[in-house]
């Protein structure tokens, strides 16, 4: 009881102090009411998991003791006659509701600026992220222990990343949405913010449960089935993390890429496996999201007409009839924009091309995800036996492609730029998967995305990722690469370096599960011989790299794999032995960067440039402009040839050292670098 009173006083005073500067709350209780509420909770629900836990609630979740405004002028002063189920459950578990937090109106926004109560601020002047920015800032600045948010396309994870705290979006259907004001109901998910992983787990566990009032709440029968599936899974101490290659995009900013890369390296070092995976539908996810969410929003927000509750517009002859007037008056610009977008994509002439297509993309994306995870999806109709079992435990990818922008800059952005902020968060939303944003560096979060229903595992793996010691990561990466292979540790790591088989099937059936692009981990050259080669058929392009054995780079002609495989490997040896790079250019897609005469045979139609350094010495210079903004490092003797690759539009660098003058600028290693460095890494 005393602790509760003490905490209530502390939080209340902190809320008062920060209210002006951060604007994280729309409504808070005064110190006396908060103390009373805390005492009541301590008395009525003692010794519960959330006892003495102060929980801030996003203001689009209904509470009977505070107004629920959704940060909309139209709902100013609206008080819900009932508590949302999640609020009731938090209260029942001993939690104290600490106030209602600021947000983008109805959850529509990525920076918490579109609020009728003013934008959410941060101490650094950067965007708080959105739409649950108020909740994130409240937790980050210790105005509460835990905060509830809603995540429709990233509204919990993005602000969590920007504020360097944990942000969790559970699987769709686990936490009841009764009382959660709908933005896009098929995507809306109640989410949680905390600094402390244990508190996060408690808040989630207490909120998780079937609710008959929410028709999308996971049924008790399915929950049972899920428990069975989870229980039958074999425990593994080594985890396998999937890296979606479609996430390796040029917009990825340097610090985020570095944080991601070093986390992967640290995970490898800790004995976990990294696998490059593919989500072919992912590039369409953002577009699909921005069709579906506004469509549902335009429907869900039709009820705000001022007839039964909320603010009615003042009488004015200029603004047209009551409804138009009220809605014009009540909604902010972003909400109006999305309602218009949605109304358009649902209209009779557009629905087939937009809404229906987006639904299709969503289904494909779900299938893509399902094919990756070891755990089957309990919601999928396909029988488990028929399913091609995936291999990974979770996906690990950045929450945001960039660091949070300054608020002033956001205000100058076009709306489309703000939409693009969600590019990494919408896939998990569309597929309904659990996703946890783990703070990995200042203002940078990595998402752990798991199979549907694997929420507890995601939270646990989040702890694993968060506990990695990654300091001064630039230096560390360089060290790893430069240390001679005598060190046992380093050697192990190098062996683990991925062997990339970038295969494009030629329309023929890929055999033994080898698709267009695969990634294999190979420890020994022998495995390349025994495991990889026999499986490769009908390949158009293949690049092989073996860690400490050196480097093989070869582009093989269609069907020529078997015949050439020994040669490919031998070249590497030769290249190292003679201190020369091995490389070859054949047709579309080139392997470049060798002193071999073939390297000069770069065709104009080359679609790929492989920059290879086999001997660890200076092989090229930065800044050779090639094709569309590419810079390729090439040996001096091949410079001319490199320049001739002017039709190249993409580069894949597997292992190269890029020098400026004589200083190592960048060493690029491993699978994670595929494409990552396409423009960025080499064009330092």
């Amino acid at each position: 009881m005393q602790r509760a009173q003490k905490l209530a006083g502390e939080f209340s005073r902190r809320q008062q102090t920060l209210s002006k500067s951060l604007n994280a709350f729309i409504a808070v209780a005064d110190e006396q009411s908060l103390t009373e509420a805390a005492e009541r909770a301590a008395r009525d629900t003692p010794n519960k998991p959330l006892s003495d836990t102060f929980v801030a609630v996003k203001d689009n979740i209904c509470t009977s003791d505070f107004p629920t405004t959704c940060a909309s002028r139209g709902l100013t002063g609206y008080r819900s006659p009932y508590d949302a189920t999640v609020v009731s459950r938090i209260r029942a578990a001993g939690g104290v509701i600490a106030g209602k937090t600021n947000l983008d109106e109805f959850g529509m926004g990525s920076h918490s600026l579109h609020s009728a109560f003013g934008p959410v601020q941060t101490e650094s002047g950067h965007s708080a992220g959105g739409s649950s920015g108020g909740s994130a800032v409240a937790v980050a600045t210790d105005q509460c222990h835990v905060a509830l948010g809603t995540d429709t396309g990233g509204s919990v994870r993005l602000p969590a990343a920007f504020n360097s705290i944990l942000g969790f979006k559970p699987s769709y259907g686990l936490v009841s949405r009764w009382g959660v004001v709908a933005y896009a109901n098929s995507l809306d998910t109640v989410g949680f913010f905390a600094k402390d992983s244990a508190k996060m787990k408690d808040a989630f566990s207490e909120s998780n449960g079937h609710d008959a009032l929410d028709p999308t709440s996971l049924t008790s029968a399915t929950r049972k089935r899920l428990d069975t599936v989870l229980a039958s899974r074999s425990e593994r101490s080594k985890l396998r993390f999937g890296i979606p290659e479609e996430c390796i995009i040029q917009e990825l900013s340097g610090p985020v890429r570095d944080a991601w890369k070093s986390t992967l390296l640290a995970l490898q070092k800790a004995g976990h496996e990294i696998a490059l995976v593919s989500l072919p539908s992912l590039p369409h996810a953002l577009s699909a999201y921005y069709i579906l969410a506004p469509a549902e929003a335009s429907s869900n927000l039709a009820k705000y007409d001022g007839v039964r509750y909320g603010q009615q517009a003042p009488d004015s002859p200029h603004l047209g009839p009551l409804y138009a007037r009220t809605r014009q008056h009540g909604f902010g610009t972003e909400v109006r924009r999305r309602i218009l977008l949605g109304a358009y994509s649902l209209s009779a002439n557009a629905i087939d091309n937009y809404f229906m297509q987006a639904q299709r993309v969503r289904r494909l994306l779900k299938q893509d995800f399902d094919s990756l995870f070891r755990l089957p999806n309990v919601l999928s109709n396909a029988k488990n036996e028929e399913r091609d079992s995936g291999t990974i435990d979770v996906i690990l990818m950045p929450t945001s492609a960039t660091l949070p922008p300054k608020i002033d800059l956001v205000k100058e952005q076009a709306p489309l730029d703000a939409f693009a902020t969600d590019v990494f968060t919408v896939p998990a939303s569309l597929a309904g998967l659990p996703a946890l944003s783990v703070p990995i560096a200042d203002q940078i979060g990595l998402q752990v995305i798991g199979q549907y229903g694997d929420d507890h595992n995601v939270l646990n793996i989040g702890e694993v990722v968060a506990s990695l010691k990654i300091n001064n990561r630039h230096e560390r990466v360089a060290n790893v690469i430069d240390v001679p292979s005598r060190s046992r540790e380093r050697r192990a790591w190098r062996r683990n370096l991925c062997l990339i088989a970038d295969l494009k099937s030629d329309g023929a059936q890929p055999e033994e599960g080898l698709g267009q692009r695969i990634l294999l981990h190979v420890c020994k050259q022998q495995e390349v011989e025994e495991v990889v080669w026999p499986r490769v058929r009908h390949v158009r392009e293949l690049c092989l790299y073996v860690g400490n054995d050196g480097l093989a780079g070869k582009r093989l002609e269609r069907g020529a794999v078997a015949a050439d495989r020994h040669r490919a490997v031998r070249w590497v040896d030769e290249g190292q032995g003679r201190g020369r790079a091995a490389g070859r250019v054949v047709g579309r897609g080139v392997a470049l960067g060798a002193a071999e005469p073939e390297a000069l045979e770069v065709e104009e139609s080359a679609a790929r440039v492989l920059v290879i350094d086999g001997n660890g010495r200076r092989v090229g210079r930065v800044g050779q402009g090639v094709g569309e903004g590419l810079a390729v490092g090439a040996p001096a003797s091949a410079e001319e040839g490199a320049v001739r690759v002017d039709a190249a539009v993409w580069a894949v660098v597997i292992w190269a050292k890029v020098f400026l003058e004589d200083r190592v600028l960048e060493s690029v290693v491993g699978l994670a670098e595929v494409g990552l460095c396409a423009k960025a890494a080499i064009c330092v």
Binding site: Y82, A84, A182, N185, E296, S299, D305, V307
Partner: protein
């Protein structure tokens, strides 16, 4: 001695009640009764009650005259020779259920406004629909009765438009995947279809969907509109027929029959009369003799149609027929004047002669149909369908067949139709119940058995309503106090009558007990009021007759033959 009819005696003695007869005179008595009945029919013709029959006959005569006039018109009107009418109908029927479609709030007809409103019904922020599975049962019964294919999986969609009676800004309906498709309904001559349609015509049902009703608006002139959200989310079904109707009369017959079927299967109990059923009609005409290709439109797979218009919200059978006639005439006139029909929505006011344009294509609402993201698919299991099929109430057509073709009942088609049509089938149930009790209790060899069905039908259809007409009462199906059926009481009365324990007039007299609250026991009343036929010896009869003769100077013995001459 020639006996005077006891009735005559009785009247002289006690004009109000009772009848006396000597057992040995039964033979005479029965002939007397016949006479009395004959007489009473004639007498009734003079009293106000038979007016009903008279009116009925007059109406029939009028109708027939009208019909012949109309058919004259049809044959004479060259326009209808040239132009063919095509009609498709959409019927919205409120389902009789305890709860609303998407909340546990009760359905209500006349409750205090806004007393049955769940948070979702008022579209409060954060609320979600909860599909009430029980509402599916009457909908499925309706679909089965209309021979529909029940979709194993159906789903709900949102239909968007702003109106104050629509709290969510959309109506939840079934647009993409309705629960029932491809049904049909057959109309017969006795359903009063157009003679041109022959003995029977079958109309296809495109689909049946479930949807929500809106709030009720109560206008408070001059400018106030009060809203009653009790009706919001009442479950409705919308029945959409194929455009296979070619006559206004048949269209009205179809709506009437669908209403009867919905009542029979207890899917809709309120009907058009109480606003529980409304119809929209789609009307088009085409030139019968035009070359193929001139009427090129297609609706629901029916090809070669002219441009249609929709007339919304027709709330009586007459309105359906009249509005279609008016719209047909309008369209023909437009086309004959060289104009073109525009696809538009029109309205019809009761008593008017033409339809009125409400909005044209440019004013058409784009409903922006969207699958409801909150509501999952409705999966209907085969076991449920089997159960419903096995327990389907009898349909009007089946009932009529049973009443007329089963020798047990042996009713005329006219009586059978009346029986089925009256009071949502309650009269039929009442008849069957009374009949069943009598069938059970009446002595197996009783002579009245042969015509038991007709006898009971006459009482249920004629005698009870006649006895009620004087008091302007409603048909006493159930006792007021406990809601029990009064059929056993009627059966009791008739049993006494058929066993000759009381006379027919006494039995009629006793009918008032059906409306009593609580009803007295029949045997008690008979005893208390001395209504029982009493065995009388010749001596007693003589004394009685003598007493009558003595009490009146001008009374002579009257012979039956003389009576008959009166």
């Amino acid at each position: 001695m020639h006996r005077a009819p006891s009735r005559a005696l009785l009247r002289a003695l006690n004009p109000s009640t009772g009848s006396l007869i000597c057992r040995r005179c039964l033979g005479t008595a029965s002939s007397l009764r016949r006479n009395a009945e004959l007489q009473s029919t004639t007498t009734r013709n003079e009293t106000p009650q038979p007016l009903r029959k008279q009116i009925k006959e007059e109406t029939r005569a009028r109708k027939e005259a009208k019909r012949s006039q109309k058919s004259d018109l049809t044959s004479k009107d060259p326009r209808l020779e040239k132009w063919e009418l095509t009609v498709g109908i959409e019927i919205h029927a409120e389902l009789s259920t305890a709860h609303k479609l998407f909340s546990s709030a009760q359905t209500s007809l006349s409750a205090t406004p806004n007393t049955h409103v769940a948070p979702f019904d008022a579209a409060l922020p954060g609320t979600q629909p909860t599909f009430q599975a029980a509402t599916l049962l009457p909908a499925l019964r309706a679909a089965l009765a209309l021979n529909c294919h029940i979709q194993r999986k159906s789903s709900f969609d949102r239909k968007h438009y702003f109106w104050w009676d629509q709290p969510n800004g959309y109506q939840i309906t079934q647009y993409y995947e309705p629960f029932a498709k491809n049904g049909r309904i057959t109309l017969y001559k006795h359903d009063d279809i157009d003679p041109d349609d022959g003995d029977e015509i079958t109309i296809g049902i495109k689909q049946i969907q479930m949807e929500q009703d809106t709030a009720k608006t109560v206008a408070q002139p001059p400018t106030t509109q009060l809203l009653d959200f009790n009706r919001v989310s009442h479950p409705l079904i919308e029945i959409i027929t194929l455009p296979q109707i070619h006559s206004p009369k048949t269209a009205a017959a179809l709506v009437r029959k669908i209403q009867a079927i919905l009542k029979a299967v207890n899917a809709n109990t309120t009907g058009m009369e109480m606003g529980g059923l409304r119809a929209d009609v789609n009307v088009s005409v085409r030139d019968k003799y035009a070359q193929a290709g001139s009427a090129t439109l297609e609706y629901a797979g029916v090809k070669g149609l002219g441009q249609r218009t929709e007339i919304k919200n027709l709330s009586s059978f007459k309105a359906v027929e009249d509005a279609i006639i008016a719209e047909r005439e309008r369209q023909i006139s437009v086309l004959e004047a060289g104009g073109i029909i525009e696809g538009e929505t029109r309205g019809w006011a009761l008593g008017s002669t033409e339809t009125k344009r409400l909005r044209g294509k440019e004013g058409e609402v784009d409903y922006r149909y969207m699958p409801d993201p909150d509501l999952g698919a409705v999966i209907i299991g085969d076991d449920l369908l089997i159960h419903l099929r096995d327990n389907m109430p009898m349909l009007p057509d089946e009932s009529i067949k049973l009443l007329t073709e089963d020798p047990k009942y042996g009713l005329t088609i006219k009586d059978a139709r009346t029986m089925v049509a009256l009071d949502d089938g309650n009269r039929l149930d009442y008849f069957l119940e009374t009949f069943a009790i009598l069938d059970e209790t009446l002595d197996k060899q009783h002579s009245a058995r042969a015509k038991l069905g007709k006898t009971v039908a006459n009482w249920v259809l004629h005698d009870i309503p006649t006895s009620l007409a004087a008091t302007d009462g409603v048909f006493p199906y159930t006792a007021l106090s406990n809601g029990n059926s009064t059929a056993p009481i009627l059966a009791d009365i008739l049993l006494h009558m058929l066993r000759n324990e009381i006379t027919t007039p006494t039995a009629r007299h006793l009918l008032s007990i059906l409306s009593e609250d609580p009803p007295r026991h029949i045997a008690d009343v008979i005893d208390a009021e001395s209504l029982r036929l009493i065995q009388m010896t010749d001596e007693e009869y003589e004394i009685l007759a003598q007493a009558v003769v003595d009490s009146s100077d001008d009374m002579d013995a009257v012979s039956p033959s003389e009576r008959r001459r009166h």
